[in-house]
């Protein structure tokens, strides 16, 4: 039995139908209002055919080309994170009766979602967040249920944007694990498909796909290698970065960054691994029921470190240092993994063009 199959572009809809008959809602990158982001996908024609993106520090631009490929862009503006750890949701509610008795009830909402086209960096982002919400002392039941009901179709990179730096972290634009199916797009033809789980195999069996030819399989690998080689950013070995950052907490570069950083938190909002959140109550006007919400927070917000009377990280310098040292150093101590996947979104979406790779190199040189 072949390890690689071939899914022609014309048969994407068969795959979507198979997923739908298994009860999955399909989600994929789609073009909308000048950007490419995840949205519901009903048919293959809704994919961003021919769209390319250009990313640079503080810059994002999408252009339409005549190419007949659906994944000619690099990566969507958002990662898979919002599907698992929602930007805002009700986590529980409590009803209060006339006697003041409180009845607490967890709110656990999930659905079967198949994500068609997950870049390898975003797959690693899921793996990192699993450590926080699913492989920790206490799990988030909502996250666990969503993960259990997720079907992941990875899309290996055939292009890198100028902010991509997964290779600088020792990773590659090649999906190595954590997927049900992994695909590599060949221009104008279709996808070379690899199976990564039993769930993936069962689905693929229903499609009766032909084995990929040796040439197709080789072409797919070459395209991924080309994407890796297109990355230009470099970092010292990650263990060295981890040690040097914590040894340089008083480095003058922190002041330099603080003179540019707006403390807006954009980087944390687009990050596939950031997990900080806050919780608050939203009571109804009758005083009979309250929703308890969980909402993304950011270590760049002034409230983040506020503990009755004291704000521990009152200056931008301390907030940026918290973000960077957490992501690139203390994450390892906490979760036995690194906290960054090199997707480059924090660089692209920084309004003042701060490039995290440059800052790390400035501190670690």
């Amino acid at each position: 039995m072949s390890h690689y199959y071939f899914l022609p572009h014309q048969r994407i809809d068969d795959m979507l139908s198979a997923l739908k008959s298994d009860g999955y809602k399909c989600v994929a990158p789609r073009y909308h209002d000048g950007s490419i982001g995840y949205d519901d996908l009903n048919k293959s024609s809704e994919l961003p055919w021919g769209y390319h993106d250009a990313q640079a520090p503080g810059h994002y631009e999408v252009t339409k080309t005549e190419h007949k490929h659906a994944f000619g862009f690099t990566l969507p503006t958002t990662s898979v994170k919002p599907m698992l750890f929602k930007a805002k949701e009700n986590v529980w509610k409590v009803a209060r009766n006339d006697e003041g008795k409180l009845a607490f009830e967890p709110i656990v909402e999930f659905e079967k979602i198949a994500v068609f086209g997950v870049r390898p960096c975003d797959l690693r982002g899921i793996e990192i967040q699993d450590r926080v919400f699913m492989e920790n002392s206490y799990n988030d039941v909502r996250y666990v249920k969503r993960r259990e009901n997720q079907f992941l179709i990875a899309m290996n990179c055939t292009k890198s944007h100028s902010n991509c730096f997964c290779t600088a972290l020792g990773d590659s634009p090649f999906a190595d694990k954590g997927f049900d199916l992994a695909m590599t797009e060949l221009n104008d033809e279709g996808f070379v498909v690899e199976v990564g789980s039993e769930k993936g195999r069962v689905l693929l069996d229903t499609l009766n796909l032909a084995a990929a030819s040796g040439g197709q399989a080789q072409a797919a690998l070459s395209r991924i290698e080309a994407a890796a080689e297109a990355q230009t950013k470099t970092l010292p070995p990650i263990k060295e970065v981890e040690a040097k950052l914590m040894a340089n907490l008083e480095h003058p570069q922190w002041d330099d960054i603080a003179s540019r950083c707006l403390s807006c938190g954009s980087c944390t909002q687009v990050c596939p691994t950031c997990f900080c959140h806050t919780e608050r109550d939203e009571p109804n006007v009758l005083g009979t029921e309250t929703n308890h919400t969980r909402e993304w927070d950011s270590c760049f917000s002034i409230d983040h470190s506020y503990t009755h009377g004291d704000t521990y990280r009152e200056d931008t310098k301390y907030r940026y240092r918290q973000w960077l040292t957490h992501k690139f150093s203390t994450w390892r101590d906490q979760f036995r993994t690194k906290g960054c996947v090199g997707c480059g979104r924090c660089v692209t979406w920084c309004p003042v063009k701060i490039d995290v790779v440059d800052e790390i190199n400035a501190i670690c040189k």
Binding site: V94, D140, V141, F275, S305
Partner: protein
């Protein structure tokens, strides 16, 4: 931690008594309304609960054992410092609140056995160490001398006075109370001491080389206390402090309580001093 299927959702408890300790400090005595939950609930001295006030939110507060040693009861002594605690100050007997917990590390009650025990607190830092003190008194023969040192800014801020008197009359136990200002309590009525807690170091009559110190107070005070007792001969690893940071979840998910690589909610709040000494020196960490 009490846990059914979701670590985020609290359990209902009833306020069995509301005690006004001071104009902005109060204690709520609590019991779980579901006996099945109560039978599963067990905390160690030094741990904390998340207390939920209907329609407002949750706060992290250390657990005080029940003053009447009644099974199925525990207490929280709370100071009004923000929106949620302000609302909690209006609670009364019969009211319901939510509890998640217990969370965090505990005081080193095992390590303290066979040693002289020195409890040092400042302000409302005494609440997180009541359970540890009671634990020593309950198993009196397993521990050496017990010294309880408490510092308050002004004399009228003294809470738990009956408890301190009882402790002071217990075997091998002595309470030292210091205030920087005795004025607010009428002349002659203030029978406790003056000055700072560290002033008592020369007169405690303990074997510092075989003592364990447990301290809670404002961060600068804990650092000062740790340094003074280490200078007096206490081994650094036998000095324990308890840190306070913002906590929204208490289960290591929300990110607010981070101090370097530490999640204070689960790696603390009780730390051996050497484990956080360097971290506390870094401004803005």
């Amino acid at each position: 931690m009490l846990y059914t299927n979701d670590a985020y959702t609290p359990f209902e408890v009833e306020v069995v008594e509301f005690i006004q300790e001071h104009h902005d400090i109060f204690t709520i005595r609590l019991k779980f309304t579901d006996p099945a939950i109560d039978s599963k609930y067990f905390f160690r001295p030094g741990q904390f609960n998340m207390i939920y006030l209907y329609g407002v939110g949750e706060v992290a507060i250390s657990i005080v054992n029940d003053r009447n040693h009644q099974p199925g009861r525990f207490e929280h002594t709370i100071q009004v410092v923000g929106r949620i605690t302000k609302g909690m100050a209006k609670l009364k007997a019969g009211d319901k609140v939510g509890i998640r917990g217990p969370f965090g590390t505990a005081w080193p009650m095992e390590e303290a056995k066979g040693k002289d025990v020195i409890i040092v607190t400042g302000g409302l830092g005494n609440a997180p160490l009541v359970a540890a003190t009671e634990e020593v008194l309950k198993n009196r023969k397993q521990y050496g001398k017990l010294r309880v040192l408490h510092g308050i800014r002004t004399s009228d801020l003294l809470i738990y006075e009956d408890m301190y008197t009882r402790w002071n009359n217990s075997p091998e136990t002595k309470v030292y109370m210091a205030t920087s200002n005795a004025e607010p309590v009428d002349n002659g009525k203030w029978t406790w001491g003056k000055g700072f807690v560290t002033n008592f170091i020369p007169e405690l009559g303990v074997d510092y080389a075989n003592s364990i110190v447990m301290c809670v107070g404002p961060e600068p005070m804990m650092i000062g206390v740790a340094k003074s007792f280490i200078a007096a001969g206490v081994k650094p690893e036998n000095v324990y402090i308890s840190l306070e940071r913002s906590m929204k979840c208490a289960i290591g998910h929300c990110g607010h309580c981070q101090l370097g690589a530490q999640f204070v909610c689960k790696d603390g709040a009780v730390y051996p001093y050497p484990a956080c000494e360097e971290l506390l020196k870094v401004k803005g960490l």
